[in-house]
Amino acid sequence: MIPFQFITAFLLIFMGVYAFLYKRNLLKLILALDVIDSGIHLLLISFGYRLENNVLPTAPIYTGYETVKAPMVGPLPQALVLTSIVIGVCVLSLAVALTINAYRHYGSLDVNKLRRLRG
């Protein structure tokens, strides 16, 4: 059952990169970055969810403070994904702010219109 998540994650990353390369609308590019990040998050979380001897692992926070009996999910990738989500929302807010500014200057959201600088 684990392959589902991996396949989905790689498809999400692939779709995001495709949209990033072939779309020209700035807000669409921002959404494409969001899709790429979601794919990486799903990949990381599924790395932490290891199936051992056909027993489903549980999160330590569900079982309370007494000794954990079932195998634990990896807590490290969850911390990583949380951090990554925080970073993602920062980047996204900044990108939207810049996009609004660019629209004020160029009157368009088209990437190809942003060609006034040479190079």
Partner: protein, 512 residues
């Protein structure tokens, strides 16, 4: 008292307290930013002295009962790991950042939104310091993003001009894609090996090097080449660096592409993948990109008419030299040539940070006084701004590599090692320098030419702008007086500590 955590604590304190201090007044805010960056400089110089005098890798484990020293045991906690290369980088970062803050007090006086500006410049410094200190690969990603977000915002800081916005958007989208690639590489490494501490990762990787790790290495190197502005993907750099305010351009060109790009390539190639991957192949891959970068960057610099754009392309070219040294150091790992090349790369990193910061500050002074950076309108600047022109001459001579200045020593190390390694590479390096010389001679010719009317009305910038420039001039001349002492005493040990992969791993794992 251990100084290592203060390198992060002091800028963090500055960042958090700046909104509160800003309520007092404008002057208090500037003084506080200057004080914080000065204190960081002091702490990093102490750190550099400590590491240099003991020649040992410092390890600091966050939140542990005994943070210092060896033997992390079960490596889950975040580790800060400082060897001589990290300490040198940290000192350079704090030095240039301090001067940039001092410079921007006068340079940015007429801008609005300065409370954000000083917060962002300290965040940028914090991110770079974190990158060079950390020994944990995800913590590195976090600091990289802190640095990147601050620099996106600073490039687009003047959001009433289309130039800044366009450059900021290009930089931001390219940089975010590169960051996603780096995160994907880190995720694959975690999925394969189940750890994120660099040293433990290196140990596990040496035992079992799989295809997944190779793919992860490709993603990491690709993303980092994006970030450092190597040639196939250098276009954002030539837009972003000229569009930023000049004090920020000095930091972006001098520090960001090195701390976030070249330093991390060196750290990952040597310390993480060093024991597993075939270093010769990896080295040749980096050499390939380096030669491309070197030729294209310097050649493009010749044809520019915009002064800051010329400097930005020159930065691309100089990154080529640094990558060349690094690549030879990897390809000739374990030999004397490799050590010299790595030392040359480290030395050139420091030198280029100082020189390019000086040159961008000069460009900023010209822009501040004359309102233009078009080279066609700047002829005869030497008549009305002699001190600024003198600073520019020193910086240009140093970046070309004239003997009495600091650029000569590092470039000589690079020429020597590349010629010994493969004469063809030496020839390419010389060709790059020829282009570089042409570009700077052209600017000098303009400055010393017949004065135009517009230039005659100019005057020297104020003392607060001249002083940081002359401190950098002094640093260039001082480092030029003792080139071989510095390279023997500091750079060669740094290179040998970087090449000593086992030592880096053992410092954390405690001889397991």
């Amino acid at each position: 008292m251990n100084v290592l955590p203060f390198v992060i604590i002091i800028p963090l304190l500055g960042v958090f307290s700046l909104p509160l201090v800003g309520l007092v007044g404008k002057k208090a805010r500037e003084a506080w930013a200057l004080l914080i960056s000065g204190a960081t400089l002091g702490v990093t110089s102490k750190l550099l002295y400590n590491v240099w005098s003991t020649k040992e890798t410092l390890v600091y484990t966050l939140g542990a009962k005994s943070p210092m020293g060896q033997g992390v045991g079960f490596p889950v906690r975040i580790v800060w790991e400082v060897d001589l290369l990290s300490a040198i980088m940290a000192f350079t970062i704090a030095f240039v950042a301090f001067l940039a803050v001092a410079y921007s007090i006068e340079y940015m006086r007429h801008d609005t939104g300065l409370e954000k500006y000083y917060v962002l410049i300290l965040v940028l410094e914090l991110g770079m310091l974190g990158i060079v200190l950390t020994g944990d690969i995800f913590n590195f990603y976090v600091f990289l993003e802190i640095m990147s977000i601050a620099s996106y915002a600073l490039v687009a800081f003047r959001n009433d001009t289309w130039e800044g916005i366009e450059a900021g958007i290009k930089y931001m989208f390219v940089g975010s894609l590169a960051s996603s690639f780096i995160l994907l590489g880190i995720a694959l490494l975690y999925g394969q090996y189940g750890t994120l501490t660099m040293a433990y990762l290196a140990e596990k990787m040496a035992a079992n090097f799989t295809l997944t790790a190779k793919i992860a290495l490709a993603f990491l190197i690709g993303g980092l080449l994006f970030k450092s502005g190597a040639v196939p993907v250098h276009m954002w750099l030539a837009d972003a660096h000229p569009a930023a305010p000049s004090s920020i351009s000095a930091m972006l060109s001098g520090l960001v592409i090195k701390a976030g790009g070249v330093y991390v390539i060196a750290r990952i190639a040597f310390s993480v993948f060093g024991m597993a991957v075939n270093l010769r192949t990896l080295g040749w891959v980096i050499i390939f990109f380096a030669c491309l970068t070197l030729i294209v960057g310097n050649a493009m610099a010749v044809v520019q008419t915009d002064m800051k754009r010329l400097l930005a392309f020159s930065s691309v070219g100089q990154i080529g030299y640094i990558l060349l040294g690094l690549g030879i150091g990897l390809a000739a790992y374990g030999t004397k040539v490799g050590e010299i090349a790595t030392a040359g790369a480290i030395y050139h990193t420091v030198n280029h940070a100082i020189m390019k910061a000086l040159l961008f500050m000069v460009a900023g002074a010209v822009l501040h006084e004359l309102g233009t950076k078009d080279l066609n309108e700047l002829s005869g600047l030497a008549k009305t701004m002699p001190k600024t022109t003198f600073a520019f001459i020193v910086g240009a001579a140093a970046i070309i590599g004239l003997p009495p200045l600091n650029g000569f020593a590092s470039k000589w190390l690079l020429y020597e090692s590349s010629a010994l390694f493969n004469p063809f590479l030496g020839a390419i390096a010389i060709i790059g320098t020829a282009f570089c010389t042409a570009a700077y001679i052209r600017v000098l010719y303009t400055f010393l030419g017949r004065p135009s009317e517009r230039v005659m009305k100019a005057k020297e910038p104020g003392m607060a702008m001249l002083l940081p420039m002359f401190i950098l001039v002094g640093a260039i001349i001082l480092m030029g007086l003792f080139p071989w002492q510095i390279s023997k005493g500091v750079m060669i040990p740094a290179a040998s500590m970087l090449a000593n992969i086992k030592g880096y791993v053992l410092a954390v794992m405690g001889g397991v």
